[in-house]
């Protein structure tokens, strides 16, 4: 009988934690403006910033389903993953080769505000996470399917959408404006694409 009360008590505690987990986030709108036309930036078509609200809406609020949330430690300063969506489109060549070399993100004072995580970095992060346990199988599957690979090929008429994250100390949402620069090789030619991301209504 006593045991049942203990279980009931723990159930109530869990229900409280569940309610605590359902925090609401503000959906701030962003303008994502890629600099230059498609022919100059090809095959990168678009880069979109998914704020915390959109990230959690799309991939969930739990590290069991969302590998794009940093698993912060208790009582220590937080680290953030900031999620971006990138789309590629090939309109000319039969098949093109793309290699992502690097990505940087600067605020309006030219300060680096995030570190680009390569696919392997993200997988290593979750594999060495002591808290994730068996969920790593699902997370790894998700990263393998969705994350921006270091190398890939794209066929004529094909569109590919990938996701990638920058690790940071401050959420990107706290910045009015930031610029993302992606350096990549397209059919062995080095290219650089810049995107300016700013809050709607910000100057």
């Amino acid at each position: 009988m006593k045991k049942k009360y203990i279980i009931l008590f723990i159930l109530i505690v869990f229900f409280y934690f569940y309610l605590e987990s359902c925090e609401t986030l503000e959906n701030i709108s962003y303008n994502c403006k890629i600099i230059g036309n498609f022919e100059e930036n090809k095959p990168i078509e678009n880069i979109i910033f998914l704020n915390e609200y959109l990230n959690q809406k799309k991939f969930g609020t739990n590290i069991g389903t969302n590998p794009f949330i940093y698993d912060n430690s208790i009582g220590l300063n937080k680290i953030y993953f900031n999620l971006l969506e990138i789309s590629f489109y090939e309109n000319n060549d039969n098949e093109s080769k793309v290699e992502i070399l690097n990505a940087v993100v600067l605020d309006s004072n030219a300060n680096n505000i995030g570190i680009f995580m390569k696919k392997d970095d993200l997988i290593n992060y979750w594999e060495s996470n002591q808290n994730i346990g068996k969920e790593i199988v699902k997370l790894k599957r998700k990263i393998e399917n969705l994350y921006l690979p270091n190398n890939f090929r794209i066929k004529k008429g094909e569109k590919k959408i990938y996701y990638f994250v920058f690790k940071s100390i401050q959420k990107f949402e706290e910045f009015e404006k930031f610029i993302i620069t992606i350096k990549f090789s397209y059919n062995d030619k080095i290219k650089i694409v810049k995107t300016e991301i700013s809050k709607v209504n910000s100057k």
């Binding site: 203990i6 569940y18 969930g60 430690s73 680096n112 002591q130 808290n131 199988v137």
Partner: protein
């Protein structure tokens, strides 16, 4: 005076951006590394179960557990520990389940050699032993040659050699009994190797109790990675002893969009016993569900239908699990796996 202060404040305000220091990638990396140096995470687990045993409806908690993970990383050094309080004793050494593991590590020669030492060190070379582990974890997801599964672990030392696609591990158990002879310790040596064949798959080899007479356990496994959307693994286990035992297991799954079909088969060759699971999974972005059927040649295990539903809300995970035993009489158990991770 007030005017001077106001003017000075204005000048300072205008001048601030001029003096703003650029933050480089290196600066930011240093800050992030410093922040991630320590980590404290944990979880609370509760598994209340309703069970119908053929005559009565029971209600009990299969497990309640509090787990705390600690890590400290500073360059090449690291300390890792897991503390756990549970109603079920699952300690690696069979001891009181407080310290699940605690070990220190150092990476040498640009991490080509990693040395770990401590208690209950999780090790990761042994592919699943078809005879033992598969039966414990009758779950299509985790049956197969996985190298990320934390097995029982060892108390002692572990050496990891990483070069190119190969990874070799040597495990030296250290017995806590003061009367243990050196020769006895050496007998328990275990050695494992993992070789990643780019675009083809991964090979695992492992030998435990190397020098123990009639105690050798040898396992070999292969994971196929060459076919898109297909996961396939096979493994073989040989356990020497008065009566040598051999086991064999195959695991395969195929994914089509959000749906995955998986089958796992495991066989104890020596005793002609086998077990098979087949399941269909559906993965949504924020939840997943799977259901399947298990057949076992051992009538005490029986045949059963199982179904899981994983629901995630913030740091909370709820997984109702239904298992219907198709015996006579038909029995069932409904367990609510609840986890709050922090």
């Amino acid at each position: 005076m007030k005017r001077i202060i106001l003017v000075l404040a204005l000048v300072l305000l205008v001048a601030l951006p001029v003096f703003a220091q650029e933050v480089t990638v290196e600066d930011l990396n240093k800050k992030l590394t410093a922040l991630a140096k320590y980590s404290w995470t944990g979880a609370v687990y509760l598994w209340p179960t309703f069970e119908y045993d053929g005559t009565d409806l029971l209600f009990y908690s299969g497990r309640y557990r509090l787990r705390m993970n600690f890590s400290y990383k500073d360059g090449i050094y690291g300390v890792f520990a897991r503390l756990q309080w549970s109603n079920t004793d699952m300690a690696p050494t069979g001891a009181v389940d407080i310290i699940k593991y605690a070990y220190g590590q150092v990476g040498l020669f640009n991490n080509m050699l990693i040395v770990r030492g401590g208690i209950g060190i999780p090790y990761s070379y042994t592919p699943w032993t078809a005879v033992g582990e598969n039966i414990v974890y009758v779950d299509p997801f985790f049956v197969g040659a996985k190298d990320n599964i934390v097995l029982a672990g060892i108390d002692g030392l572990k050496f990891d050699l990483n070069f190119g696609p190969a990874n070799i591990g040597i495990m030296v158990p250290v017995n806590q009994t003061a009367t243990t002879k050196l020769a006895d310790q050496i007998q328990d040596l275990a050695i494992g190797a993992k070789v990643n064949l780019e675009g083809i798959g991964v090979i695992y080899l492992c030998a435990e109790n190397l020098l123990v007479q009639n105690g050798l356990v040898f396992s070999a496994a292969f994971e196929l990675g060459a076919v898109e959307n297909l996961y396939a693994a096979a493994k073989f286990v040989y356990m020497a002893g008065a009566t040598a035992t051999m086991g064999f297991g195959v695991s395969a799954s195929y994914t089509i969009g959000s749906i995955m079909i998986a089958n796992d088969f495991v066989m104890d060759i020596t005793n002609s016993a086998f077990h098979d699971d087949i399941a269909v999974f559906y993965f949504a972005d924020t939840w997943d569900v799977y259901a399947g059927f298990a057949y076992d040649s051992d009538p005490t295990v029986g045949n059963y239908i199982f179904a899981y539903f994983d629901y995630y809300a913030g740091k909370f995970t709820l997984t109702p699990y239904l298992k219907i035993n198709l015996g006579n009489p038909v029995t069932f158990a409904l367990t609510f796996y609840m986890t709050y991770a922090f």
